[in-house]
């Protein structure tokens, strides 16, 4: 019978005499973070010093891409700061890397509920920071005049976490089920099905997660109409 664990089995290892228990997905997340950080550091140390005052070729394309991203996010958020571009980009990179890890045969970290809950709690914190910053303390509290709005603010991270977790977990189970059913004949077909469930589907989910983050922040940071 085909079986899947809802939470991945913990990995035990000893570090300086202490036995540590970590879930396998947390370990995968740390690996992803290390690789992405190393790439970013290499980018900063090798490529950025070689950028020229008058952009040409690749540098021009890069600058245009960053400017377009900033414009898109600034337009969505009523001009709420440039730091958002960096946050949204790193969120997208994290989600996509986490999903593509499955192509290497590991369990994707986003199919662990704790990871998706952490990401959506980050969104909740961001929403509140932007709300208090843009509207002021009183203005933000005034937007909770209707108690149902407070409820929707609390529910939003749970629903975002459940959506991402459900999509990733379902995709993982479907691919695993296919391998289980095909047994030794798993040639060719997994490439086609995996292209959808491991590549296309996570990209859509990352886009939806980002769109929801942006629209929640935009809703909270809208200037008060007087």
């Amino acid at each position: 019978m085909f079986e899947v664990a809802l939470f991945p089995a913990p990995v035990e290892f000893t570090l300086a005499g202490h036995t540590l228990r970590l879930s396998a997905t947390a370990l995968t997340t740390w690996w992803i973070l290390a690789v992405v950080l190393a790439l970013a550091l290499a980018f900063r140390l090798i490529l950025v010093p070689r950028l020229k005052e008058n952009p040409k070729g690749l540098q021009r394309a890069l600058e245009a891409a960053i400017e377009n991203l900033d414009n898109y996010i600034g337009g969505r958020l009523h001009g709420a700061g440039e730091a958002f571009g960096a946050y949204i980009f790193s969120l997208a990179l994290m989600l996509i890397c986490c999903a593509f890890v499955e192509l290497l045969g590991l369990r994707p970290p986003t199919s662990d509920f704790t990871m998706t809950l952490a990401l959506s709690v980050m969104t909740l914190v961001l929403v509140n920071i932007c709300g208090f910053k843009r509207r002021g303390f009183k203005g933000r509290l005034k937007s909770f005049k209707n108690p149902f709005l407070l409820l929707s603010d609390i529910i939003t991270p749970v629903s975002m976490a459940c959506r991402l977790f459900g999509n990733m977990f379902a995709g993982m189970i479907i691919v695993d089920l296919m391998y289980f059913l095909l047994k030794n004949f798993a040639v060719g077909l997994p490439g086609v099905v995996g292209l959808y469930f491991n590549v296309f589907h996570p990209l859509i989910q990352a886009f939806i997660f980002i769109t929801l983050t942006l629209s929640n922040v935009a809703e909270a940071s809208e200037p008060v109409e007087s």
Partner: protein, 73 residues
């Protein structure tokens, strides 16, 4: 027959309702764009958000069914 399979089938009814809901939303969006082509950007953004919210009901149903069937107790 095992009753858990039947329970999983009931869970998957949510996919049917989500399909109907998404079809209705898309149809209305097409109507709206046909009436006001200049507002297509805004309509698209709202439609995408609505589809994401509608799809999540289907996903919850599918997830519950998969957990009933395959997750070990």
């Amino acid at each position: 027959m095992d009753l858990t399979v039947f329970a999983a089938a009931i869970c998957l009814l949510s996919c049917v309702s989500a399909g109907i809901g998404m079809a209705m939303a898309t149809g209305k969006a097409v109507e709206a764009v046909a009436r006001q082509p200049e507002a297509s950007g805004k309509i698209q953004a709202i439609l995408l958000l609505g589809l994401a919210l509608t799809e999540s009901t289907a996903i919850y149903g599918l997830l519950t069914a998969l957990i009933i069937l395959f997750v070990k107790g």
